[in-house]
């Protein structure tokens, strides 16, 4: 019976209840207020809004890079506020993948080494690490660029490397911060195709963007303005 109940009411991957974020104490700046949001496993949600609307702050809290000032955040049923810094880091290394607008690749390391870096903090065995990284690069069609330095890659290729790195540890959640913000339209399409494929494979994705063309690829859109959810569809 319990199993049946669990199937009918699955725990959401992300559940935010009354999340707020203030910066400073004397004249606090309110970045988020009263955010209530649920994201189910396997869902692709786009968070849209103008600059300064609180999109990145929300993503940072969901990605355990920042702590909320108020409210409760459950990740896969776990109250994140109850976790230690090391456990939050553990969540980031094993269960959450990040993709950034500026790629965040280490310029002096090869493509393969950049991808392998993801396993370093997940305490994955060293044996087979290069093979796993190559497989991740093959999944984003970059297996021919393993020994390149990122400086020799195009913007789209760099973002693919970042995606391969984010996927290496088999995360449950992929957080994308303006993933196509630095890319041209053709490259943007290829990256969105890639994300679409990941979504179809069952990966939960949250994308923040102010590009409507990117947002429509998601199953659901959440609109933020002045730190509040002002619309969803």
């Amino acid at each position: 019976m319990a199993e049946a109940a669990a199937h009918t009411a699955p725990i959401p991957m992300i559940r935010l209840a009354g999340i707020g974020r203030r910066y400073g104490t004397v004249a606090p700046v309110v970045a988020l207020r009263g955010i209530d949001l649920e994201v189910r496993a396997g869902e692709w949600v786009a968070v849209v809004g103008a600059s300064g609307s609180g999109k990145t702050t929300l993503l940072n809290i969901v990605g355990c890079l920042d702590r909320q000032s108020g409210g409760t955040y459950w990740f896969d049923g776990i109250d994140v506020a109850a976790l230690s810094d090391r456990q939050r880091a553990g969540l980031r290394s094993r269960r959450i993948g990040f993709i950034f607008q500026s790629f965040h690749l280490l310029a002096h390391r090869t493509v393969l080494e950049n991808v392998m870096l993801a396993e370093a903090y997940a305490r994955q065995p060293r044996a087979g690490r290069a093979d796993r990284a190559r497989a991740a690069l093959a999944a984003v069609d970059l297996d021919s660029r393993t020994d390149f330095l990122p400086t020799r890659l195009s913007g789209g290729e760099r973002q693919r490397v970042a995606i391969a790195r984010a996927l290496l540890n088999g995360p449950d959640l992929l957080l994308c911060d303006e993933p196509t913000g630095n890319l041209d339209s053709v490259t943007t399409d290829s990256i969105l195709e890639l994300l679409d494929g990941l979504h179809r494979g069952g990966l939960t994705i949250i994308t923040i963007t102010h590009d409507a063309g990117v947002a429509v690829r998601a199953e659901r859109q959440v609109r933020l303005a002045d730190g509040q959810i002002v619309g969803a569809r």
Partner: protein, 416 residues
């Protein structure tokens, strides 16, 4: 394209982030070699500091050893025998006048001679009989009586004239040899014109002037007269001491044989002064040198440490974006701090290895040029990388702390 993603069941126990030690080391080394020129220049600072430390310590050892070696050779081949004061009522313990001849027969003796202070009372020494009220012409100088072989035993070097011989002593001739300082005081520079000096009312012909003495340095400022005249004029009862120069390594054995050779009837009545233990002397001299050079090396090392701290701090500020990325990938504050500490420690260790090598090369080079034997305490070059590593850790502590304190959100905002 469809990518298959494995789903995990929800877990209440969240495993903390972790990192293998070899991964940490790899990241630190990769971080270091990402900017090889800067790293090399930073290592150079520590290297110079530690090279200075190793070189100065090595050179102090080498130079100290050289000084000691020379000193040892002189000190280790000298024995001085004198009579112990006799108990009250007992006959005086006296050295025999033929002591040098007795000792010369012993194996290992190079030269032996008697040397005695002559009590001339309040008599002053003057080079001229004319009393000039404008300048001082009379001096209170020590007067010593010596056997001819004493000059060899103290390694006296003659500047001019000659040394008294057995004949002078046997005939009790009024001749004298002046030490270099005494000659200068008396204003006598050469003996060609047969200069005379007076000791009180007694006149002596100066037959020679010494250039230097390597032993019994008091002779440099003394008037030295033959024993014969000292016995006749000043009633010298017996030689005060016998100075013996031995072959290297013979001093210890001879110091036990000499009393019996001199006074077989009462060897215990004699006192034998043997050379100071060379090891003790060496330790003393080295200690003085080491303190000086350690201070110099320490200052150099401090400069190197400041270099590491500075570069590591700059590196942290330049790599804020990288720190943010690592935190996003699961690095804890401890991982970040450990990586930067390891980077600075690695620079210190490298500086220590290269510095020790350079320092040893300097020591060997200087020693070769000076024709000395290079002496390096083996522990010093081995310790250099350890010291370098410690310096690196200390210098990197503050930058590492700053790196660890960075909030991931702020760090990511700075970009890569």
């Amino acid at each position: 394209m469809t990518v298959k993603i494995a789903r995990r069941p929800p877990a209440q126990d969240v495993e903390p982030s972790g990192m293998w030690a070899h991964d940490l080391l790899r990241e630190a080394v990769a971080g270091l070699f990402a900017r090889p020129v800067r790293m090399a220049l930073t290592v150079l600072g520590t290297m110079i500091g530690l090279a200075a430390l190793v070189a100065t310590l090595g050179l102090s050892r080498t130079a100290g050893n050289q000084i000691i070696a020379r000193f040892d050779e002189l000190a280790a081949t000298e024995i001085t025998v004198s009579a112990k004061p006799a108990p009250e009522g007992a006959p005086a313990n006296e050295l025999p006048w033929d002591g040098p001849a007795r000792i010369a027969r012993l194996n290992g003796v190079v030269a032996a001679g008697t040397l005695s202070n002559v009590d001339v009372g309040e008599a002053l020494v003057a080079a001229t009989t004319i009393r000039d009220p404008q300048r001082r012409t009379e001096f209170k100088l020590a007067v010593q009586a010596a056997s001819p072989s004493m000059f060899t035993a103290v390694r006296a070097k003659l500047r001019t004239g000659r040394l008294p011989d057995e004949g002078h002593s046997k005939r009790a001739e009024r001749v004298a040899v002046l030490g270099p300082n005494a000659a200068e005081q008396l204003g006598i520079a050469e003996v060609g014109r047969l200069p005379a000096i007076s000791i009180g009312d007694e006149v002596f012909l100066v037959v020679g002037i010494l250039d230097s003495v390597q032993r019994k340095h008091a002779l440099s400022s003394a008037v030295i007269i033959p024993e014969g005249i000292a016995r006749r004029l000043y009633h010298l009862p017996a030689p005060e001491s016998v100075v013996i120069e031995t072959k290297v390594g013979a001093a210890s054995l001879l110091s036990r044989q000499v009393p019996t050779a001199l006074r077989p009837d009462n060897p215990s009545g004699l006192k034998v002064a043997v050379p100071e233990q060379p090891q003790t002397l060496r330790a003393g001299v080295r200690s003085d040198l080491d303190v000086l050079f350690l201070m110099l090396g320490g200052v150099s090392l401090l400069v190197g440490a400041i270099g590491i701290a500075n570069v590591t701090l700059v590196s942290v500020m330049e790599r804020v974006g990288e720190i943010g990325l690592r935190r996003a990938l699961g690095a804890t504050r401890r991982h970040i701090a450990a990586q930067f500490l390891l980077e600075s420690a690695t620079m210190g260790v490298l500086g220590g290895i290269f510095g020790a090598s350079a320092g040893m090369l300097v020591v060997v080079g200087v020693a070769t040029y000076q024709k000395w034997t290079p002496v390096i305490d083996p522990i010093i070059p081995l310790l250099a990388p350890v010291i370098g590593g410690l310096v690196g850790v200390l210098a990197g502590a503050y930058p590492a702390l700053r790196a660890a304190r960075l909030e991931p959100v702020d760090a990511l905002r700075s970009g890569t």
